[in-house]
Amino acid sequence: MANSNNRCIISLPSATYAMSAQKLLSAKGIASRVVKTDPSATKKGCSNGIEVDCRLSVRAKGILTNNSIPIS
């Protein structure tokens, strides 16, 4: 999902996983921001994620998956 600033949200199962994802991506040179995601975007309600540059989104998701961080 991309917003007007070309920032993409990667949804994660919890605030803790969002923090872990941010730390991991930072170590790999990808800047991100922990965010609360739009509760209407999922059927589950309030959720968490990280915001990254859309151009790096695929790479970021790959890093997270390879490090056992589940993407919602």
Partner: protein
């Protein structure tokens, strides 16, 4: 005042802990994991930093660190989260009521092994008690009553071979002895924030192994349910750790203090702190063992930071009360560990416990011994 009740809670705390708790309360005490604003995220950062520090200290993953109110809640969370109807559980005879009572409350059958033995004899005893229904072994790392310490690595290896869960009560050892969860095969490590880690009262936790990571956390029954800041439209608690087992607002100031406590003991060196405490223990043991009216329990153990004794002809409560009048804080009675006292032969009367911390000194030990001598003389 001379404080020698560090097994109950360490006192004082490092000054930096007090400062951080106060700074948290005045500068960044938002509700962690709930909102997207700066104050909530600042609190969330501190909570996450604490998870990272704990996971580094105990060789675990930050996502598996679950904060609870204290070790008792941590043990209840782990034991009742894992136990199933019809299971069999094995515990040691050094267990605190925070293990014994929840194990009994599960309704599962349980057996007790003797921990006041050699490592080999302990393993034999445990092995003889295993049944096909044995789900878990729950034991303390270090007794809260006397200088008995259990061989975690050997017990963990046995659990690993048999596919049994291994739950450890580290109430007396977290921050005092190095604990490597992976090396010791520990599935759930329960710890207090306010003892050897030198945080304040109000938080402890349980750290799970990767056996419960991600969706595998669904295997854990929840002890309580409530808000989690995530998946709020769902009826059930989140399926992943730590949020699955952390309903309600976390005690951010206590967690901030714990963070600082861990940083401080890590900088000082936990081995150094432990050696200091053992030196004090030995100094006191030597003097008390030489008194003909004092009985020291388990005096042959070369290590330890917890000294248990009785004065002949004086109840443990009377001895502790007389020490208190002289400005010395110790704890008398059964220390919430009835099985341990029964094993040591103090099941009827209890005993006096002296427990050391990082801030105690040799001079305090000498004053304690002099005061105790005076109390006994006055009683003669």
């Amino acid at each position: 005042m001379i404080y020698l009740d560090n097994a109950a809670t360490t006192f004082p705390k490092p000054e930096s802990v007090y400062r951080e708790v106060a700074r948290c309360m005045s500068e960044y005490c938002g509700n962690p994991g709930r909102s997207g604003h700066a104050l909530s995220l600042a609190a969330q950062n501190t909570v996450y930093e604490c998870r990272c520090l704990l996971s580094e200290l105990f060789s675990a993953e930050p996502e598996n660190v679950v904060f609870t109110l204290n070790t008792t809640y941590a043990l209840n969370t782990a034991i009742k989260g894992i136990a199933r109807t019809g299971d069999h559980i094995i515990i040691s005879n050094m267990e605190h009521n925070s293990v014994l009572r929840p194990v009994i409350a599960t309704g599962c059958d349980y057996d007790v092994f003797d921990a006041v033995k050699s490592s080999e004899a302990i393993l034999c005893d445990i092995t003889s008690k295993l049944t096909p229904r044995t789900r878990m072994i729950v034991c303390t790392h270090k007794s809260n009553v006397c200088p008995v310490r259990l061989p975690l690595r050997a017990i963990g290896e046995l659990c690993r071979q048999r596919g049994i869960c291994f739950i450890v009560d580290a109430a007396q050892s977290a921050g005092v002895y190095p604990i490597d969860m992976k090396l010791c095969g520990i599935d759930a490590l329960c710890f207090p924030g306010h003892k050897g880690l030198y945080g304040i009262q109000g938080c402890g936790g349980v750290i799970f192994s990767d056996r419960y990571k991600g969706e595998a956390a669904r295997k854990l029954h929840t002890l309580a349910e409530g808000g989690s800041g995530t998946a709020s439209l769902e009826e059930a608690m989140p399926s992943v750790l730590p949020e699955r087992l952390e309903p309600g607002t976390l005690p951010t100031p206590a967690i901030a203090g714990l963070c600082q406590g861990i940083r401080t003991i890590t900088e000082t060196g936990i081995n150094r702190i432990r050696e200091h405490e053992i030196t004090l223990y030995r100094r006191m043991r030597e003097r008390l063992c030489n008194h003909d009216r004092i009985k020291v329990y388990c005096p042959d153990m070369g290590y330890g930071e917890t000294l248990l004794f009785n004065v002949e002809g004086m109840s443990s409560t009377a001895a502790a009360d007389k020490l208190d009048r002289e400005g010395i804080c110790v704890r008398a009675g059964f220390h919430c560990a009835p099985l341990a006292h029964k094993r040591l032969g103090t099941g009827e009367s209890g005993a006096v416990r002296v427990s050391f911390g990082a801030f105690n000194t040799a001079e305090e030990v000498d004053i304690f011994c002099d005061v105790l001598n005076k109390i006994i003389k006055e009683d003669d």
